[in-house]
Symmetry: C2
């Protein structure tokens, strides 16, 4: 069976960079945005729209009591249906990736989807102060330099990420029982932290 | 300033053994039961009693509404007072230990008590299945071999540990934001995991 590592991360923690560096050092295939692109291709939806769907808990397009009036067994909510079919593709693609070779997959509920293959599940996080500092240092042209706004954005992105995960995986995002190693990047150089995680894995996975 | 590492752990996770091996490899002083013995000496209480006090959330010896009748400002609950004075000694002893030399301290709210010295805070945990298996393998003569009873005991010990911590530290025991590294021992050989954590620290703390 292929060796699979999954990396879940808080927004702004440096988790994505850590994952990329780790995959490089391990010499395994790395999957992140590629999954979104593949879902978009297979569903004929735009990359931006798939990104949006997979970053938020699916919501019903009508209030639920209307659904009830229409008769729940007959009524299928189109927004929920679209989210479900995107998740279905995501599920298939991630299984295909895991079939192919050793790999490291970032986010996308891969830790849960591949649970029967016992991936090594890493969670990367940091304090809100360190995440804000990191995001301010890496902000793109046009992004606000207001610290409070950045803080709000980070918290809201993670809240939505958690809700999406909890909706489809029925377990708590970021709760220790769902991971094998949880790494606080502590505002440190991510390259150093990636090296440390690599050394840890070399001892554990051999 | 001395280098300080704190290890908090779930009961049965192998965290204490991991901590001892880690301190040995790092060549730093190791403190665990020694703190209890020292508190007992300074407070004239028995080791067993101190152990019990520091493993449970302090409780009022009278229901609170009786305290209110007696006038809260005058009434001092003797049980709460004893727990507080034990915590006071614990606080002093841990500060003294940190003053002395590089060290590794297991439990006893050391991560919180020493927060201004920025210790490297490790949390060790495992799944309930792995913890039960470990406790069954290491059980002492006379301890029940009933799996359900062992499970209950483990959960109750950790619940009490969490309550004591949360009462004095005003933050959540086992919540990722309070730690720098969280290690799932996964029922693996603890020596191997201790080696992995050592390698991690060698990269991060240098």
């Amino acid at each position: 069976m292929n060796r699979i590592i999954t990396v879940s991360r808080e927004f702004g923690s440096g988790g994505r960079e850590l994952a990329r560096r780790l995959a490089e050092k391990l010499g395994v295939a790395y999957y992140d945005q590629e999954i979104i692109t593949e879902i978009a291709k297979r569903t004929d939806l735009s990359v931006g729209y798939v990104k949006q769907i997979t970053a938020n808990r699916p919501f019903a397009s009508f209030p639920l009591h209307i659904g009830e009036h229409l008769g729940q067994s007959l009524y299928v909510d189109p927004v929920l249906q679209q989210s479900s079919s995107v998740y279905g593709e995501q599920h298939k693609i991630i299984q295909e990736i895991a079939d192919k070779s050793d790999c490291l997959i970032v986010g996308r509920c891969a830790d849960y989807i591949l649970r029967d293959r016992h991936p090594f599940r890493i969670f990367v996080y940091a304090s809100i102060e360190n995440k804000v500092a990191r995001c301010m240092a890496h902000r793109t042209a046009g992004e606000s330099d207001n610290v409070q706004e950045m803080k709000k954005k980070i918290c809201s992105l993670d809240r939505n990420r958690a809700k999406y995960y909890e909706f489809y995986c029925d377990q708590k995002w970021g709760a220790r029982e769902n991971y094998d190693l949880m790494v606080n990047t502590r505002g440190e150089d991510v390259e150093k932290t990636a090296d440390a995680v690599y050394d840890y894995l070399m001892k554990i996975l051999k």
